[in-house]
């Protein structure tokens, strides 16, 4: 059975990390969050960096200028260094604005506000966190598609799709994720599914999936389960949201890319050998400088027909050096 929480029909929410030591301020910010689609998560200045190192799915951070024994501006700069993708809002006691702060601090904070004028935070929240419009019908439809895909891949489990939200952070959840392109005339990008390997492995061992229970210890079985869910959601998304006459709908086969961090493993579906180049960057004048190694791989997993290989003939006259402006 699947459940899609009613809030999936309403406006999206987001999580705001609230770094505060003043209970009065916490209450005021919490009230603001409740009124504006945010979930406030309070954390103290002494452990915010540890929380941020692992906390996923955040939309932003608000931090007080003065915390108990801690300078909020300095801490904000450290937060910025740790999680540059998160907008940080500075709560000040009196002065509104950032003009009196050093340039580095002015760049680190998205805006400043006071409790007396907390409403001024709203346009900044809208700009930084709710800047992209996701139509409700699309959000609801994705929830339905996903619920159906999960329901048919697991035996005897309830599927609950919780209220959708927007995130700004870039942390990966769990050890295992899949990636597949989503393309149409109105959108282009990727869908990712992320999970913890161990929890999925347990379900395989318990016979709750269609993977072979005897192979639960083989992490590739876990990869396959998440890969098939990805495939089902991807297919249903295309069938529901891509018009048949969409020029981007010209048939191009895709398979999920599966990444398992715990095993440093990435699968493109094919087991064929990959063309790999190892590039090493060194400084000839500085032998002490550790070399930088870049691995480049070409993975022709969807089609490889070397018999049709051809190279465009380009005359020297037509060559344009890299960086040159080519006029037409």
């Amino acid at each position: 059975m699947s459940h899609i929480l009613p809030a999936a029909d309403s406006a999206l929410s987001s999580k705001l990390l609230v770094v505060e030591s003043d209970p009065g301020a916490v209450n005021a910010i919490r009230s603001f969050c409740n009124d504006h689609g945010l979930t406030g998560l309070r954390v103290g200045g002494d452990n915010v960096l540890q929380v941020l190192a692992s906390n996923v799915d955040l939309g932003g951070v608000t931090i007080a200028e003065k915390l108990d024994g801690i300078d909020g501006v300095s801490l904000g700069l450290r937060i910025r260094a740790l999680r540059p993708e998160l907008p940080i809002f500075l709560r000040r006691d009196a002065r509104v604005g950032l003009d009196d702060l050093p340039e580095r601090a002015r760049e680190a904070f998205a805006t400043a506000y006071t409790l007396d004028d907390i409403a001024a935070l709203k346009p900044e929240i809208d700009r930084c966190i709710f800047g992209m419009v996701y139509p409700n019908r699309l959000v609801r439809g994705i929830a339905e598609i996903t619920a159906q895909a999960l329901e048919c891949q697991f035996k005897g489990l309830d599927v609950t799709i919780k209220s959708p939200y927007v995130v700004r952070d870039r942390l990966i959840f769990g050890e295992l994720f899949t990636l597949i392109p989503i393309e149409s005339s109105w959108c282009r990008g990727y869908m990712m599914l992320q999970t913890e390997e161990g929890s999925l492995q347990r379900l395989i061992a318990e016979g709750r999936t269609y993977a072979d229970e005897a192979e639960a210890a083989d992490f590739r079985s876990v990869n396959m389960v998440l890969g098939e869910i990805t495939n089902l959601v991807w297919g249903a998304f295309k069938n529901r949201y891509r018009a048949e006459d969409d020029s981007a709908a010209l048939y191009l086969s895709q398979v999920p890319i599966v990444v398992n961090h715990a095993h440093r493993y990435i699968s493109f579906g094919s087991t064929d050998p990959q063309l790999c180049f190892r590039c090493v960057l060194t400084d000839p004048t500085d032998p002490e400088l550790p070399p930088v190694v870049i691995h480049q791989r070409f993975v022709f997993n969807l089609n490889w027909s070397p018999e049709d290989f051809r190279e465009n003939e380009v005359s020297v006259d037509n060559l344009v050096a890299c960086g040159d402006l080519e006029m037409f």
Binding site: Y210, N239, V255, S270
Partner: protein, 122 residues
């Protein structure tokens, strides 16, 4: 000799479909993609039915179906696509390649068992 060849890059789907078919008395063989499917079908031309995914690495299912008819010259085997794809254009391509049926995933064995039995001739 297998009666049904299940071609899918997902071992989860191969297990799900294969176990259902075996439980209903069919002999089942497996291939992991379209390229492997061609090899298996060439080695065992007595296969009566191919249940085949569309999106697979190395060789997709529709191209495989075309090669079954063209390169292998096997016009006897029935091919049914089992896929997330639902586009009329793809179905038309499948029809042109002699595909007999199209199932949009997820797989529901009970709904297709009767048709499979007819296609295999049991």
């Amino acid at each position: 000799m297998a009666q049904i060849l299940v071609v899918d890059d997902s071992s989860t789907v191969r297990n799900e479909v294969g176990n259902f078919l075996k439980a209903n008395g069919f002999d089942v063989a497996y291939a992991v993609d379209g390229r492997d499917g061609l090899v298996k079908l060439k080695a065992d031309p007595a296969v009566k039915l191919v249940v085949c995914d569309v999106n697979m690495p190395n060789l997709d299912g529709l191209t495989m179906a075309e090669k079954v008819r063209g390169e292998l010259g096997n016009n006897a085997v029935s091919i049914v696509m089992l896929t997330t794809e639902n586009s009329p254009a793809m179905k038309e391509r499948g029809k042109a390649a002699g595909v007999k049926g199209w199932i949009v995933k997820p797989f529901n064995g009970a709904a297709v068992l009767g048709s499979f039995m007819k296609l295999v001739g049991v």
